[in-house]
Assembly symmetry: C2
Homo-oligomer: 325 residues x 2
């Protein structure tokens, strides 16, 4: 089987069954009856020459091959949906550049970057697409946006990116906290403090991004409460025995009488990147990325942003997806 008679229907059916592990419920979800679904999966297995599920009449279970196909099928189906979306968008919004951003997550660079891009000859109109934490990369993958400005890009699957700025990450502590008086702190000193996390992220992820999980002994570290947004996160820190980690620019945007910011010497910087789908080949995206890197170089050049913002390697004329020169 060379895959030339495989159809998306087969994959949609298989995903439903693999997720439900139950043919009846899967069939309901697909809006068909069980028998055709059974037959479809059987045919698929026969064509692939592979057992995908071990079925007892009572319950179904995925084989290794089945788990592989589930993961791959989701990828293919996502790619197909993105294909449709990008195609329709290419026709409807020809000559428009959609930029996915999170409000306030861009170290104040967005305005300058957009201005720099719009100054380029032949620039197309820019439209902003706002989204919550972590939604920007999903918007790129799904074909809802052409390019994104994101802080701390985490899952780069399917995306290319360039670092725009790396800012120091500060520990945010209650003013009367024992550690609040220090000039600088180390990760180790903060290891015992809970870190609040945010919707869509796990406590593990919050600590991981704060680089605390990478330290030995982090297993016994406490997990923090959940914060709905940034203001709430600051309130949580202001109330109790928590620490939060914010980029210098974000911390500066939200001053709070009860809180102090202390640099952490050995923590990873907070990185703002431009990102775009790996298969993107449009002139507008390339020029927006170039504009972002120019702005970043300019900002760094004039010693801006509290003096220790560092620029990403702005090899402006290398094509996307390139070796790191």
């Amino acid at each position: 089987m060379n895959g030339s008679d495989l159809e998306l229907r087969d994959l949609r059916y298989f995903v439903a069954v693999a997720e439900e592990l139950n043919f009846k419920r899967a069939a309901e979800r697909l809006g068909i009856t069980q028998p055709p679904l059974s037959r479809a999966i059987q045919t698929l297995e026969r064509r692939l020459g592979v057992a995908l599920l071990i079925r007892t009449t009572r319950r179904a279970e995925l084989t290794d091959a089945g788990r592989t196909l589930l993961r791959e099928s989701r990828h293919v189906l996502d790619a197909a949906e993105a294909a449709v979306r990008r195609t329709t968008r290419a026709a409807q919004t020809a000559g428009e550049l959609v930029v996915a951003v999170k409000p306030g997550g861009h170290a104040g660079l967005l305005k300058d970057i957009v201005a720099a891009y719009e100054a380029v000859p032949g620039a197309v109109p820019v439209r902003m697409a706002l989204g919550g934490w972590g939604e920007q990369s999903a918007m790129l993958r799904a074909g809802h946006a052409d390019v994104a400005l994101v802080r701390d890009l985490f899952d780069t699957r399917g995306l290319d990116h360039e670092v725009v700025v790396a800012e120091p990450r500060l520990a945010v502590l209650r003013r009367d906290h024992p550690l609040a008086g220090a000039d600088v702190l180390t990760r180790r000193q903060l290891l015992h403090l809970p870190v609040p996390y945010w919707p869509g992220a796990s406590p593990r992820l919050a600590r991981y991004r704060a680089a605390l999980d990478l330290l030995p002994g982090a297993e016994e570290a406490p997990r923090g409460p959940r914060a709905a947004d940034l203001v709430q996160l600051l309130e949580i820190v202001a109330m109790g025995e928590c620490v939060a980690f914010l980029s210098a620019s974000t911390a500066g945007q939200y001053p709070h009488a009860d809180l102090v910011h202390v640099p952490v010497v050995d923590i990873s910087p907070s990185v703002v990147s431009v990102a775009w789908p790996q298969e993107a080949r449009s002139r507008a995206v390339a020029e927006f990325v170039a504009a972002a890197l120019r702005v970043a170089a300019r900002e760094t050049g004039r010693g801006e942003a509290r003096g220790d913002t560092t620029r990403g390697d702005a090899h402006g004329d290398t094509p996307p997806g390139d070796a790191p020169w």
Copy 2:
């Protein structure tokens, strides 16, 4: 249209038409007659609500949306083929790890890496898949291999990777060349010399990878002849007014009486990476990558490989596709 009635058949048909720009030839290629193909494309356009081609009865031309769909369709179809291949391979070769390598392209690390991986408890048998220049990444994307050891990974689309070693890249010159006596060279001094290229690569790419194209004035630079393999490349340099660029380890493997190696101070290093499909989540792949980074750390640690090989940032316990800490 949410894409839920799109099928791979539609994409296969569209790709054929978009590539041939001729319904008759496309139909022949697909093994059907023209009328169904015309209807299929029409239906597709109607469902997407988008014009994909502007047809005169004499010739067809792609619209912007059509170009987008062509690119996206290839991606979806490749993903579907890879899905089939990975699924069948998961069943047939359960518990086997296929490593794609180019003979001699790995700075001599392959044996150590494989040994380090096989020493891990629970390691599965390793199989080597040899391929020519640049084929390794294609093998990963197509699902023929699980992991690859590649030099100068260029197109990272769909792949994650970690740098194993970065070696200095040397200029290879004929012994009696005027520049051959220098202790070190700069890219600028070599700009006027042609660079031979290899099958599957363009002269542009050869120069680009030598970082010569990044210099101002590179447009007027001469293009070199084509070399079928490494030995032939060295012969070309030994014969004429050419320069080639090799990593220190590769150059050391192929000594040649008429050639000398001169370090180039401002050239990019030659980078050996481990790469794997971004969606890979298998334990074997993760452990192979970890083993590679351990070996790299060990090699660097004992000051091996001519003393200036540098290790990639081996953050061994971060998950794939992570922020660059």
